[in-house]
Assembly symmetry: C2
Homo-oligomer: 339 residues x 2
DNA sequence: CTGTTAGCGCATTCAT
DNA sequence: ATGAATGCGCTAACAG
């Protein structure tokens, strides 16, 4: 295509189409009725000259940036990346462009990223997880359409998209029970960041309720604490075995720990799923690659991203967004056997 | 239109600091000497009023967007995400902001993404992989500082950052040889996208050369074709076994196929690494999670991203960038045993 | 060193 | 329905 040095502006095409610049602007933004003839002439000139609007001029004049800020916590983490992917999909064909920033789970970094996003005058903001105070979030929400995903924000029920972790924990446990298991161990966690800890404790509560609903009592000897890291899954198994309380299944609060558990069992010569069934949470990328492939609870990451975008776009149009609540989905693989 | 934010402009702070707007601009961009007193007054006013420059006005007036376009092919793929991560790291503290776009390995999507990035007036462009013609790339490079990463572009040697795949294949094979293996099978691929196919054929050449250098002849019966997908690794093993040519080690051109191979071996009751050693390529996220953990060749993704940014920033300053060539690194895990 | 004067390219009043 | 005029907020010549 023509890459002439001369930058062609709205004036060039106005001249070529024999109309005024404002008319050109009108047809380009579809902002007012324009005679069909002139409209055609303008569009023709636009195509002819390969005109590219200058978005800075547009933004400066209109006050809109046509961008959506996305504050994530962890580039490279499957769950968060899945949400990003959903956001990309949702934005497709919408004229808006995403601006990504990474808070890295560090409050200071996160605040700076937020500020930068705001400085870039994003028209809407999607914040995934993170630890920004609800007070700050409220301030932001007053000025800018905001969606907080993968985090429960009690004071911002209108801006919040989250996953039912309690039900996830319940269903995971319930599945094991239905497979004939009764002595079900649980690896949970508490010494992690506040957001994740809430999710994890919800999963644990679901676990306990499922046991209760089966007519049994949760046995504290079957519950061990990790820290969501793989290594803590290994230790959790050591602890469990040391306690001497037998079990035929394990529900780990996340896949990382489930993998650690699997390693520990392997070293002990305990077979999965013949001797012990194993279920994780998150459906991390590696879950299907484990031996045996891991049964786990999938969080609908992509769907969350898409819903977040849809909500933002609604808000930008003054409509009230609908905010689905997401459920986890059982992904059955070979790590669980009927007892 | 929730734009009732601070409407504080450079004029407000000029007034408050008793200087002219241009002086304010000067201290803000450090573009010319300003008397210490006035400078202090300006900075004070800026802090006092919590002034936020309007990026659009800046860009419109200066012609710079302070953004770097990043065209990737596959959000969610570990190698590409690693590069993105490196780009983020490299950009940190640089005043530039990344604009991401996803080409999804589809030429049409990719071209559109490129165009959008260009429309956004990015000051520099990093293209990761992809299939945009070198001719187009040359055109782009004439207008905008450009780095093409993870792809060899013969006609653009000054803009290209790539990984030594040949050496990677050589070293992987060499390692197996040093571990005492002699009958080494190779799973390669040819029916995939052109960029990847080049990488993969380089790996194969490295493999063959290593065999030659050991004083043996490459045996065509030991080479099978897959398509980089996991399933093709399974089939590859079936084919190999059907051929009846014995082997004690396998070098797969990527981890996906290595995993497929591992599954097939498992089903056949062939142990890894006791009966057959296995080595992959890429160090995908799941590699350490395999049983046994997979020995593989790591591509320095993060480093590539950082180098790309460094190069772009150099170019933006008129300096000639230095373009390191990247080597793969052997990651030793338990899937290879001495014979 | 510093203030004054023009734009940057477009959207959006106003008039007509 | 359409053209002329007026900024949007900032940078960069151009004088002093």
């Amino acid at each position: 295509m023509p890459d002439n040095e001369h930058k062609i502006t709205i004036l060039d095409i106005a001249e070529k189409a024999n109309v005024s610049p404002s008319t050109v602007s009108r047809v380009l933004r579809n902002s007012a009725g324009v005679a069909a003839r002139k409209r055609a002439a303008v569009l023709h000139a636009v195509a002819e000259l390969d005109y590219r609007p200058n978005i800075f001029a547009q933004s400066l004049a209109s006050g809109q940036s046509m961008t959506i800020g996305v504050l994530t916590q962890n580039f490279g983490s499957p769950f968060y990346d899945g949400i990003l992917h959903g956001i990309l999909l949702g934005l497709e064909g919408s004229d808006y462009w995403p601006l990504f920033a990474d808070g890295r789970w560090q409050p200071a970094v996160e605040m700076r990223a937020l500020q930068l996003l705001l400085d870039r005058r994003v028209d809407g903001l999607i914040i995934i997880g993170g630890q920004i105070s609800e007070e700050t979030l409220q301030q932001v929400a007053r000025k800018t359409p905001l969606i907080v995903a993968a985090r429960k924000t009690p004071t911002l029920p209108e801006n919040c998209l989250y996953v039912k972790n309690y039900e996830g924990g319940y269903n995971a446990t319930r599945y094991l029970i239905e497979m004939g298991h009764r002595d079900i161990a649980h690896i949970t966690a508490s010494y992690v960041n506040p957001v994740a800890v809430d999710d994890v404790s919800q999963r644990r509560k679901g676990y306990e309720q499922a046991i209760l609903d089966a007519g049994w009592q949760p046995d504290p000897r079957l519950i061990v604490e990790g820290n969501l890291q793989q290594q803590s899954g290994v230790l959790a198994i050591e602890m469990l075995l040391a306690r001497g309380r037998s079990f035929s299944a394990i529900f780990a609060a996340n896949d990382q720990m489930a993998f650690g558990a699997r390693l520990a069992l392997y070293r002990r010569g305990i077979r999965v799923p013949e001797d012990v069934s194993l279920i994780g949470f998150d459906d991390e990328t590696f879950a299907p690659y484990m031996v045996p492939p891991l049964t786990t609870m999938r969080q609908p990451d992509v769907e969350i991203g898409q819903a977040a975008v849809a909500a933002i776009l609604d808000m930008l149009q003054g409509k009230k967004p609908d905010l689905p609540v997401f459920e986890t989905e059982l992904v059955v693989r070979e790590s669980v056997a009927r007892r």
